[in-house]
Symmetry: C2
Subunit: 152 residues, 2 copies
């Protein structure tokens, strides 16, 4: 797969952050994601919709995957997410053969990205302070909602 230059990774993360912020304004859990094609086309983007739609199945990554519609192959695609993907979303990445995951931060929650790396997925961890601050604030004010979203 082609090398992902840091500037592109940051731009793509911006798409996911915008989704997370839109979710926060709606009263939702501020995690956002976007799926980019091998050629850099934005295929889909989305945000956690537990609160907005009462839908526990729509994590940010699954929402972005859904928004991209049916695809014959995910080879060369990149899932960009503001937060380390949970097991549910990591399973999505592995099953469908998404090639790369760009992660805003893994400080407030450490999901399955090490497991994905072990199984050949390229992981780009950006350690972004804006993403971490978004989650830290949210978890502080809504611990019950956050725990519900990760099944704890």
């Amino acid at each position: 797969m082609e090398f992902l230059d840091p500037a592109t990774a940051r731009t793509w993360l911006g798409t996911a952050v915008a989704q997370a912020r839109a979710g926060l304004e709606e009263g939702g859990i501020p995690v956002g994601a976007a799926l980019y094609g091998a050629d850099g086309t934005l295929l889909g983007r989305g945000r956690n919709r537990r609160v907005q739609d009462g839908d526990p199945s729509m994590h940010a990554e699954t929402a972005a995957f859904r928004a991209a519609g049916r695809q014959r192959s995910y080879r060369g695609t990149t899932m960009v997410t503001t937060l380390s993907p949970c097991w549910y979303c990591s399973g999505l990445v592995r099953q469908f053969g998404i090639s790369r995951v760009v992660i805003g931060e893994a400080v407030t929650f450490h999901g399955g990205h090490d497991w994905l790396a072990e199984h050949g997925v390229e992981i780009v961890l950006l350690d972004d302070p804006e993403c971490a601050e978004l989650m830290r604030n949210f978890i502080r004010h809504h611990p019950d909602l956050w725990n519900e979203d990760i099944g704890e």
Copy 2:
């Protein structure tokens, strides 16, 4: 967790099989699932909706999980599925702490249920010939659709 008696397991599998058959009649991929509560209440059921809704995120298990709506805890719940859960759906089970998975068959597709067993999920594999026949026929007639659904 309470012991699941074989008759109940078969009855619950029947709920999932009915979903799979309904999906087949709609022209969809014949995998069905149901989520049962710790007290045996049916919380939600669903079927693969890739073809019907053009939605790649709705595997049978995720559809049943979604239909159950927001739950504070999945402790003691059972996911019943006609087919061994793929990594995406296995990740769902692990993340949300679903306690048990009842599986119709794992012959036509072997997903992540061994991994779930390693992580403390109770696995009940029924080796049901009806479930296997449903999938075998479907895969024979629609190999491309099936490969698309599992990202192959």
